[in-house]
């Protein structure tokens, strides 16, 4: 348990992906079964433990200590799980003679009935160290929130066994905690597990961005073009009555889209884009799609107003036949015939974009017929469906990004190689009537500049600091003083969280405008005009 607790403590504070991978890999390598598999399940969200409500946790602790002292403590720390882990009074004279393993902790929590759950939890906390108490509370309150995605954990497994992460993703949904057979295979002690489970995820094929000069070397006749829809890449798999809707990384998202899942009454594995609206009438915008994202449960009202549908562009399997080795042209023919048999309010076909030369396609790309199109996809007619991102068969050719001139307002220190540099920038645009303009923050970006530019901005930040809050500095920014940043971004969403009412998607610094006076930066109205 203590090793798992230590892992969580480290992961929470390690910002770099490589650092997290090292910590995870070392943990999986050094910890034995079944503890490591249970830890993996906890991180990927596949561990089932009956949840304890925060109110129950608070009740448990104030039975054991002065509520006033608990109140002071909670006020200071601000996080209930952390506060309880710190203040939990061990019973007088109680010296645990055994540190429970993660497996023992999970076993006792899973075996607890609803009524004796709190008592079991209290006994576990009595026996645990502070860090272990924190980990136990995180396990029972649901959601570790340690900044590690299931995908990253799988990558660490792939590193451990020196295999492709796609292999692990393909296996994943057929495996259950504590994944002993998976670790045995990764450590070369056993054959790759074969799964009898149905409706497994198939690792998806990804595309490369079109680079300068790429197209000149390619023959337009070799490629099909489709619109690139800015929805969510999904894979709909139905096999022997099991239905699963997977995200691009193999997470099961069926629960968030019950309306679409209900219409999946076929035997196939289809690849496509999840969008909202009715494909026969109108496709919803990105803001409409937002209404369906990041929700644990979806009300019938939301489902009705923003129905989910799938715009299909590939078929990996139909009626038990694996099509992935066939050329795209052939798969597409099968797909067209198959989609015709499905509910037309939930499934349609991603249309081709007709073109004869790259110039024509370029014109079409610049003026797409729908706001949720973010460019075009190019797919070689003869390409098989390959997991990962092979170079050559598929390209994405995005619409040029939007840019805006904004003023640097706050800078935050980075981590690791950037730990002594102010490298994360919050920027704003002008708002308010003429003569009393104010900057409103519209986004934050931490890449897009060169190392040399980073040094220049860092110096500027240090020389123009007006206030400090921990690792953040507020930078002089008014009509006469300020550094103008040209910020590129992919799109805008309405946001109730930001004062400006807008949130940028994928913002990055495209140019430093040392030459431009701050007063000439853009106004909020310019951004508002881009909404929808």
């Amino acid at each position: 348990m203590n090793r798992f607790a230590e892992l969580l403590d480290r992961l929470v504070l390690t910002p770099s992906r490589n650092g997290k991978l090292t910590l995870l890999r070392d943990y999986f390598r050094s910890v034995e079964d079944p503890d490591r598999g249970l830890a993996l399940a906890a991180i990927t969200g596949d561990l089932n433990i009956a949840a304890v409500k925060p109110a129950m946790l608070r009740a448990l602790v104030v039975e054991r200590m002065d509520p006033v002292l608990f109140g002071y403590s909670y006020d200071y720390v601000g996080d209930l799980a952390e506060t309880v882990s710190l203040v939990w009074p061990q019973p007088q004279g109680h010296i645990p003679n055994h540190v429970p393993t993660l497996a023992e902790v999970v076993g006792r929590l899973q075996a607890a009935s609803r009524s004796d759950g709190p008592k079991v939890l209290a006994r576990l906390l009595d026996d645990a160290s502070i860090s272990a108490r924190f980990a136990i509370i995180k396990l029972v309150t649901g959601g570790l929130r340690i900044g590690v995605s299931a995908r990253l954990a799988k990558q660490a497994l792939a590193d451990l066994g020196k295999v492709d992460v796609a292999e692990i993703e393909e296996l994943w949904h057929g495996l259950t905690p504590p994944y002993t057979e998976l670790f045995a295979w990764l450590e070369g002690r056993a054959e790759k597990p074969r799964s009898a489970a149905l409706a497994l995820f198939r690792p998806v094929m990804l595309s490369n961005a079109v680079d300068d000069g790429d197209l000149a070397k390619l023959d337009p006749a070799d490629y099909a073009a489709e619109w690139k829809w800015d929805g969510i890449r999904v894979q709909a798999v139905c096999e022997g009555g099991v239905r699963r809707l997977y995200s691009r990384t193999g997470d099961d998202v069926s629960g968030a889209f019950p309306d679409l899942a209900a219409a999946m009454n076929f035997e196939a594995a289809l690849d496509g884009e999840l969008l909202v609206g009715d494909p026969r009438e109108a496709t919803g915008t990105f803001s409409d799609l937002q209404q369906r994202l990041n929700r644990k449960s979806v009300s019938p009202k939301i489902q009705q107003r923003y129905p989910a549908f799938m715009r299909c562009y590939d078929a990996l399997q139909i009626d038990g036949e694996d099509l992935r080795a066939l050329p795209f042209a052939e798969r597409r023919k099968r797909l067209e015939a198959f989609v015709g048999t499905l509910d037309p309010s939930r499934f349609d076909l991603s249309p081709f974009v007709a073109f004869s030369d790259w110039e024509t396609l370029e014109r079409l790309r610049q003026a797409p017929p729908h706001p949720i199109i973010e460019g075009v996809m190019l797919k070689r007619w003869d390409s098989p469906y390959l997991a990962g991102r092979p170079k050559g068969p598929w390209f994405k050719w995005k619409r040029d990004p939007h840019t805006i001139d904004a003023v640097l307002m706050y800078a935050q220190r980075g981590h690791g190689k950037r730990s002594s540099f102010y490298s994360d920038y919050t920027f704003g645009v002008w708002s308010g009537p003429e003569g009393s303009e104010e900057l409103v923050p519209v986004g934050k970006a931490y890449f897009g500049f060169t190392d040399e530019e980073l040094r220049e901005i860092d110096k500027y930040v240090r020389d123009n600091t007006i206030e400090r809050f921990g690792p953040v500095r507020s930078v002089r920014a008014d009509r006469r003083n300020g550094l103008v940043l040209e910020v590129a971004f992919e799109g805008l969403n309405r946001s109730t969280r930001h004062k400006s009412g807008v949130a940028m998607r994928f913002p990055r610094i495209s140019r430093l405008r040392w030459d431009k006076p701050a007063a000439e930066a853009d106004r909020i109205e310019t951004l508002q005009a881009l909404l929808d």
């Binding site: 390690t14 910002p15 608990f70 403590s73 203040v87 220190r413 690791g416 002594s420």
Partner: protein
Amino acid sequence: MRASDLLKPRPEGLYCPPGDFFIDPVRPVERALITHGHSDHARSGHSSVLATQETLDIMGLRYGENFAGTTQAAAPGETLDINGVAVTFHPAGHVLGSAQICVEHRGMRIVASGDYKRQKDATCLPFEPIRCDVFITEATFGLPVFRHPPDHEEIARVLKSAAQFPERSHLIGAYALGKAQRVMRLLRDAGYDRPIYIHGALAKLSEYYQSQGIDLGVLEPATVESGSKADFAGAIVVGPPSAFADRWARRFPDPISCFASGWMRIRQRAKQGGVELPLIISDHADWDELIITIKETGAAEIWVTHGREEALVRWCELEGIAARPLHLVGYEDEGD
């Protein structure tokens, strides 16, 4: 005699009217008794200073030889008479030379703890609980959330991380007096025998600790001249926390920032400070140490100063011990 007639807070610091002296005054005064060398307790410019020899040495290193008009060294456990008031310095276990000051007059004994801790520390004498009528305790970590783990466990985490990330350097932020030397000593006790690189701000004090027989092993200046970036791969570097936000830190390869402080108990504190590897190593008493110390002094009355007074006062009330916050100004709440 009433306790409040023996010691009372004044803007300059804690004042003893019958003895006519101040304890840890924050402004220049005629006669100052100083508990330890941290700059918020030990200031320059007093006419006369009474402190342990180590504290006087440390003040000399920090402020120059003429930091006070006259100085007098107090030997631990030896009672001095100041205008009829009996004054005794006792070890406080905080940093090298740190002392509690026991003041006794007409049957009333008050102990001003200064800053103290109870965890073992190889760089200074251990705290001695003194029976008294009134105990003046610090409360830097006076909340039940502060529970310091054993320091050797924290040091083991740095060494484990250094083995896990051999291509990176580990930068340990630690206050220049006391904490830095304790961290170095702990590294040595854990068997770390490579040179430890130190920031220039630590050089004089670390040298002084070594001269007092506290072995810190081989210390190298963390200068660019002494090595290229690659030479610092796998290195452990100790410096004042402020230096790590500075351009100074750029000489190290992909550093992991560590901070040795009791504040690191709170995750959000670590996160806000950009600390990747928090080390909960404190020179102040944690909650458990505070309450055990209060009990051991047997004091009927507790005065609580710099820190989170309210929780400790509350605890005393629950235990039936009279307690009140003593509002002294000028001490850094955050220093650890």
